[in-house]
Amino acid sequence: MRERKPDRRKRNVLNERGVTRVDWKDTELLRTFISDRGKIRARRVTGLTPQQQKQVAAAIKNAREMALLPYPAARKG
């Protein structure tokens, strides 16, 4: 039987910082949710709740439109 380590839960950055509403202008925070390629990190990586993940994704997309964050870089890199 595989043993499960006591605390394998991922840290939830939003809860840690006490963010209740994600601001699309907060690029410093949003950058923690994108890969170096510029892609939005999956929920299984970010450890966010579905609601939070949705908010973050929408915020990143808004930020991209205003050139605050990059769009995913093209293949090869």
Partner: protein
Amino acid sequence: MSRHYEVMVILEPSIDERKVESTLEEFLKVIRTAGGSVDNVDIWGRRRLAYEIKKHSEGIYAVVDITAEADAVKELERQLSLQEFILRTKTVRRETVPHAAKA
């Protein structure tokens, strides 16, 4: 019905940063004459763009908080988009008055 809006504007980097406020003020008259109010004007200043817009790699960012009717905001957006020194604008509705959230 009056609502809270947040309008972000990216201006061309060739503009004198000190003139940004007065330039924006000119456009914000639309809001005031329509009975709305401008709650806050935040000039972020020159910032590197994540990608080029109209061959510019930098832009001057400004965020304006407004309380007004939808029509007034729409007209503001239209007038802003007509200016070629304005690279991009984005209007977002806010549920509550900001300020407190701003660090």
